[in-house]
């Protein structure tokens, strides 16, 4: 670097690892929400959806946290985040929300797994040995629904936290954008929550492919996609055009808008009309679009100040 003439490289403090972490935390929150809501409130039985969501949540949040730790300047001192607390820092509060969520999702995943294993056993064994299944594993199942309920709070917390983390940077014109110009209501937590539920649901459906009728879920995902399109439109009008320029223009228009929102929406409408099964391409595009959104937000906020 030239000290006098200030030839600086476009360096960002937070790069791809953080974008990927924010994306994975969203997926984890959304997948957990899908599984636990189904578990608690659905009249129909969707065991595969519950399993898919519960397992995806665990894997995503653990991989995400791993990326977060590796991205630290001093990875081996990550435990100091638990020791020194600053209640005024969103990141410090987030450490506890995400830790709580990780713990709950692991417990929930184990309970879901035990339940599935027990169900399988019942199906295999004959009627007179069914008693064996109602052992320790079944006793623990009493905790499954309370864990799911508490987990819902933590999964919403985790998904919105990823937005608050960025929006709390008051000196960043893009990240700090308020919702509809209302000072005090930051935009990103709302956008990231909707995107998290949408991508988490999509990932869960990919994991539960060909497991009966998923029409209800497809319709929910369509509503979420439409909601996200509205939010992205509001965002586009709320900030300066420079944030959608240069290399970020391609990522935004191609990745976020066309691949992540418009194509899956049109394909879903088409599939509902023609009764075609297009879960894999629709959900795949939603998930990739969700990653593009995080990458776009993380980078454009730092590149153009």
């Amino acid at each position: 670097m030239d000290v006098i003439w200030g030839v600086s490289v476009d360096e960002v403090a937070w790069g791809g690892a953080i974008a990927f972490y924010l994306f994975l935390a969203g997926i984890a929150g959304g997948a957990f929400l899908t599984a636990s809501m189904t578990d608690l409130f659905s009249k129909k039985q969707y065991p595969k959806v519950i399993q898919s969501g519960a397992y995806i949540a665990i894997v995503s949040i653990i991989v995400g946290l791993g990326l977060l730790v590796v991205d630290l300047g001093r990875p081996f001192s990550f435990w100091k985040l638990l020791l020194h607390v600053n209640m005024g820092s969103v990141m410090s509060i987030g450490v506890f929300i995400v830790s709580g969520f990780t713990g709950l999702s692991v417990v929930y995943g184990v309970l879901v797994w035990l339940n599935a294993a027990a169900q399988k056993q019942i199906r295999i064994t004959s009627a007179n040995t069914e008693v064996a299944a109602t052992s320790v594993g079944q006793g623990l199942q009493a905790f499954r629904k309370p864990v799911a309920g508490l987990g819902i709070l933590f999964s919403i917390g985790t998904a919105t936290y990823t937005g608050f983390l960025l929006s709390a940077v008051t000196t960043n014109n893009f990240w700090h954008t308020p919702f509809m110009g209302i000072e005090g209501i930051p935009f990103l937590p709302i956008l990231f929550l909707v995107s998290a539920i949408s991508t988490g649901l999509a990932a869960t459906l990919i994991g539960a492919l060909n497991c009966g009728d998923l029409t209800t879920y497809k319709k929910i995902d369509m509503v979420l996609i439409i909601l996200e399109i509205v939010l992205i439109f509001i965002l586009y009008l709320s900030v300066k055009p420079v944030f959608f320029s240069g290399s970020m223009a391609v990522l935004f228009w191609l990745g976020v808008v066309i691949l992540g929102l418009m194509s899956p929406l049109l394909l879903s409408i088409y599939s509902l009309a023609k009764h075609k099964n297009v879960i894999l391409p629709v959900c795949g595009m939603v998930v990739i679009g969700g990653f593009c959104l995080r990458y776009f937000v993380v980078y454009t906020g730092q590149l153009f100040k």
Partner: protein, 187 residues
């Protein structure tokens, strides 16, 4: 009484020699390729032969309402008893949140320690012993001044009483303790 240390940078007197840049690197053993302070050329204006430009010293602005301190998750970034923003290297995990928050790009991740790093006003090594920061005492053109603004008799207070000091990006409400004097400079 608590101190309010401030640096005053008189831009018209700066010749861009980078003595401050070098003195800081030696004093604070800043890793190669990294800088706590640097003085790039700025504001190239006009058409030949009527051109002007000036040099502007950049470093931590020692905000009284520092975004880096409020976002730090471990309280590694803090204000000391004299209002100077410092980093407790032992508490820092290197999350870079402060670097995203600083509107002056004053911070970097020290290559050797992995912790956030920036100008300290040479607090530990010089100022706490009654000396001036390394950049100030080495400045060739006399462009740099340092002192306690809570002491009305200090050189810094006396100078600011007569000249108009400006802070960078005042609209962000960070209330920096580094004042720039633009008198005699085409902004």
């Amino acid at each position: 009484m608590a101190k309010k240390y401030s640096m005053i940078i008189n831009l018209a007197k700066c010749i861009g020699c980078q003595a401050c840049t070098v003195a800081c690197k030696f004093q604070n053993k800043v890793p190669e390729g990294q800088f706590r302070t640097k003085t790039p050329a700025n504001g190239l204006k006009g058409t030949y032969p009527n051109v002007s430009q000036y040099f502007i010293k950049e470093a931590c602005q020692m905000c009284q309402k520092a975004p880096c301190v409020s976002v730090c998750p471990t309280k590694a970034s803090y204000y000391n008893e004299d209002g100077v923003v410092l980093i407790d290297v032992d508490k820092c995990v290197g999350c870079k949140y402060c670097m995203t928050a600083c509107p002056y790009d004053a911070r970097f991740l020290n290559k050797e320690t992995g912790a956030a790093d920036k100008c300290t006003f040479c607090y530990e090594l010089k100022v706490s012993k009654g000396e001036k920061p390394a950049c100030v005492s080495t400045c060739v053109g006399g462009a740099l001044m340092f002192g306690d603004l809570n002491d009305p008799l200090s050189e810094a207070s006396q100078f600011l009483a007569k000249h108009k000091g400006e802070v960078r990006k005042p609209e962000l409400g960070t209330h920096p303790n580094v004042n720039y004097i633009y008198e005699g400079v085409v902004k």
